[in-house]
Amino acid sequence: MITLFEIAQVVGKVLFYIAISSLVGTLSICILERGVRGYPFPIIRQYGRFLTLTLILGIIGTVIFFFAQVGAFAESGWGGMFDKLYLQLIWESGVGDASLLRAILLFIALVAIVLSYKLNNSRVICSCSTIALLFSILGLAFSFTLFGHTAELSWSIKLMLMVHITAMAWWMGALWPLYRSCERLKPNELYRLMHRFGRSASVIVSLLILAGFVLFYIISEFSMEALLQPYGIIFLIKLFLVLALLLLAARHKLSLVPKLSGGDQDDFIMSKQKLRRSIGVEMVIASFVLVVTSVFTTLVSPLH
């Protein structure tokens, strides 16, 4: 029987995933776009409002996750979320450390975004903000190693989890800025951006999938039996969704993106619309991946 506290933990995690994904993905696309359009620094401020919203959601998600953990341990209704003993238990655990680190780093990222959004064209502020955002991303990825299945494993497994998380955030979080780029960019700019993104994706997505398989193998102590447990079944559902994303990504790289260059204006508009729609479908599937990942890491556990 799934409790309301467990559902709250899943919701809290999804909100946090959205925050870290939007941060990593948007920053990456801004850096790629900078190269394409020749700007002197990452144009993060054009996504100011979007990132402000997602980072605030991430902070709310972190708070929800922390108190839902307290309530789940106390097992005494809503009042249990504020039970002194259980608050201390969670606060002193890896969950407490991770929640504090996440709240601080999301706040730092929020300040950096708001500053670059408000202080238009300030090169110093934009450079400092970019450094602060990279520092936050590193810390946020590290926070995943403080609790959960990998908390007791070696540094190399923790590093692999950080790679997996950052690569996941890069891919999922890039979709919204790419969707927006289809509306904003000129034909040759959009083609070059998508081309550069596709080239980076072939390396980053390979690392993401490899790290995911190794982590599953190690955590579940892989066997065919493990795949028949709820933990394995949810892993297979996630795998199926990721496969669907890969097929869409392959369609973009091999069919839709090449059509962006070389044709006339009408061809470009038609190809751009097809690409935009396809990225939209990718975003919907990516949302399911985030929800399934949250369920996978919260509600089920390998039995051994």
Binding site: L89, G94, G148, H149, T150, A151, S156, M160, I218
Partner: protein, 121 residues
């Protein structure tokens, strides 16, 4: 060249990470009374033994009709062995020990140990 270096990187990382030992989760390995056991004397204490340190935060003893009092103090320090004294002698019947703990990885652990007390004359 690009694909070759990517493949080399991936293979190197795979070999590095597969060299790690597998995960071991915290779990209850034994208890007194044992799960599904029938005992003939009222136990003076309940004991729980885990394979690694666990923060045990809740232990409740429930009889067929009511909850019994146990002298349990929640632990914020991880330990592998716990002994919980009983404040009174148990009557014959079926009992459940409900326990809740936190493993080192922060995961919630919980379980029920069922036993029957059937005193012999």
């Amino acid at each position: 060249m690009f694909m070759k270096s990517t493949t080399t990187l991936i293979v190197t990382i795979t070999l590095l990470f597969f060299a790690n030992k597998l995960a071991a989760h915290a779990k209850l390995i034994s208890s007194h009374p044992e799960h599904q056991s029938v005992i003939s004397e009222s136990p003076k204490e309940l004991s729980l033994k885990f394979n690694q340190g666990v923060k045990l935060v809740k232990v409740e003893l429930k009889g067929s009709s009511e909850a019994m009092k146990v002298k349990f103090i929640p632990s914020l320090k991880a330990k592998a062995n716990y002994s919980i004294p009983l404040s009174s002698e148990l009557q014959e019947g079926d009992y459940d020990i409900h326990w809740v703990g936190m493993g080192k990885d922060g995961h919630k652990m919980k379980g029920i140990i069922k036993f029957t007390l059937a005193k012999t004359e």
